[in-house]
């Protein structure tokens, strides 16, 4: 258990220099990779999200934890039992058309990577059809849309309309950004709304079918 606690703390403290060693020790002590990931690393990111929401953690702490998480997952990938996987899914992310604000979107992208998702970042001012094309091309599980300007919120609906028209059934759409809220999410028919970056990742995990 001591080793597993160390993995948890290494993620929580954003210890990018020691996380791999801690994961290695946990594996040597006989813990399955899947257990290290789910019970310690993801649990630590949930705690990071809680602390961020409470104003105890700020962006640097969140990003260092995400980086530690990512480094630990890279290491775990090669040490899985047959049939196990650590990938959480594929996310296509971007700031919607007409909006060039990228700070929030970049944070969310980093948080998704930290949580084990493969991220395809389309950048800013992304036309609706580009989200759909990329999601088809990559067989994405999630499309994540960001907007900061109130004037560009309708562009989120355009993306959702196109996703529905495209017949892609499994892909979930999550929205985030300063002006959007859960009422707006319902209005435009998005699957989830993330109040901040850690919350967005958490919501997406609950949307997707559990992985073996």
């Amino acid at each position: 258990m001591g080793n597993l606690e160390n993995v948890y703390e290494a993620v929580l403290n954003g210890s990018v220099d020691t996380i791999v060693q801690k994961v290695h020790e946990a594996l040597d002590a006989g813990s399955p990779a899947q257990e290290i990931l789910n019970q310690r690393m993801i649990a630590a990111m949930d705690e990071v999200g809680r602390r961020f929401g409470e104003g105890e953690y700020f962006i640097p702490q969140v990003l260092w934890s995400a980086k530690a998480m990512q480094a630990g997952m890279e290491f775990l990938k090669d040490r899985l039992a047959p049939g196990e996987q650590v990938g959480s899914g594929k996310v296509v992310i971007g700031t919607v058309e007409g909006d060039i604000h990228d700070i929030g979107k970049n944070l969310v992208a980093m948080m998704f990577e930290g949580a084990g998702f493969t991220v395809f970042d389309l950048g800013v001012d992304v036309p609706p059809e580009r989200f759909v094309e990329k999601a088809k091309e990559t067989d994405a599980d999630v499309i994540a849309l960001s907007a900061l300007l109130t004037t560009t919120m309708p562009a989120m609906k355009s993306v959702i309309d196109r996703v529905k028209a495209s017949g892609m059934e499994k892909v979930k759409v999550i929205i985030g950004g300063a002006p959007v809220d859960d009422v707006f999410r319902k209005d435009i028919g998005a699957d989830a709304f993330g109040v901040d970056a850690p919350d967005g990742v958490k919501k997406v995990r609950t949307l997707l079918p559990p992985r073996a």
């Binding site: 700020f58 702490q61 990003l63 058309e97 007409g98 060039i100 970049n106 109130t150």
Partner: protein, 291 residues
């Protein structure tokens, strides 16, 4: 010092302008067009907005160069346009500027994090801010306005790069959120830390803009006034964005905004304008209430 900002400050309070981006969109700028490019493609639209703010009672307008640094422009394929966009931005505002009024050269954040947290080197960031500041100063702005900074380290880099141009005063303004322990940047730096550091780093004026509405800004200014003797600049948002009947708008009216601005002024602020959600009608009311 006989620099223009102090000439302005002599007749405090100084009224600044309000939001630019939304007005550009209302004027028919295509979604997706970089707002800074309008300085080159449609200077008359930007000039008209500046004139509207001056007519509303603003003493200072801020150039349309918020994102016109090399780091941001590179992501839009406009990296070779840094000088042209900033010079044009300064020129347009000066053209609209009546005698006895002023133009501030706007410098917003790069949108990236410095190494090791992010991937941007300090050298690249310095070079970007120096090039922008140089073009704005050569373009004739009366002072430089570094604004909406969310990272203290970046604000200090921008401040040093701007001060290195030598000839004009520099106001540095950061954006803060409020939590149970006080006011903090996105990076976790406290208001106290930010103001003290920027003051010592040579800022001629200090500010807070965006994120917070007028009510929170009153509380912020009460703390900020105790931290510096330099001029303070405040640009609140017009409350929080709210969604009503499928349309989003900021919740405050110009009258509510101006009433709170009076309290902000009373708490010891020399320069007041508006950020997101404000327009010339807010500045008109602001000028009426404060003068």
């Amino acid at each position: 010092m006989n620099s223009p900002i102090f000439g302005v400050i002599e007749k405090i309070p100084v009224i600044l302008d309000g939001a630019m981006g939304t007005l550009l969109m209302n004027a028919g700028i295509a979604p997706g067009e970089a707002p800074e490019r309008v300085n080159i493609d449609h200077p008359e639209i930007v000039e008209h907005i500046h004139r509207e703010y001056f007519n509303a009672g603003a003493h200072v307008v801020i150039t349309n160069t918020f994102g016109a640094n090399a780091v941001k422009l590179k992501s839009k394929g406009l990296v070779d346009q840094v000088h042209a966009i900033n010079a044009a931005g300064a020129g347009i505002a000066l053209k609209a500027c009546p005698p006895g009024k002023w133009v501030a050269g706007d410098m917003g954040p790069t949108g990236r994090f410095l190494k090791p947290l992010g991937d941007l080197t300090r050298e690249a960031m310095e070079a970007a801010y120096e090039a922008q500041a140089r073009a704005l100063v050569e373009g004739g702005v009366h002072f430089l306005f570094i604004e909406t900074m969310y990272a203290l380290e970046e604000a200090v880099v921008a401040l040093h790069s701007a001060k290195a141009q030598g000839s004009v005063p520099v106001v540095a303004s950061m954006t803060f959120s409020k939590n149970k322990d006080g006011f903090f940047t996105m990076m976790g730096e406290s208001l106290e830390e930010a103001v003290t550091k920027l003051d010592h780093a040579g800022a001629d004026g200090l500010g807070a803009n965006c994120t917070l509405g007028t009510q929170d800004m009153i509380l912020l200014v009460e703390k900020m006034r105790k931290l510096t003797s330099k001029p303070i600049l405040i640009q609140p948002n017009a409350g929080k964005p709210v969604l009503k009947d499928g349309i989003t708008r900021y919740e405050q009216t110009p009258e509510e905004f101006a009433a709170d601005a009076k309290a902000i002024r009373a708490a010891g602020v020399e320069m007041i304008g508006g950020c997101c959600g404000t327009d010339p009608s807010f500045i008109r009311e602001l000028a009426r209430v404060l003068e």
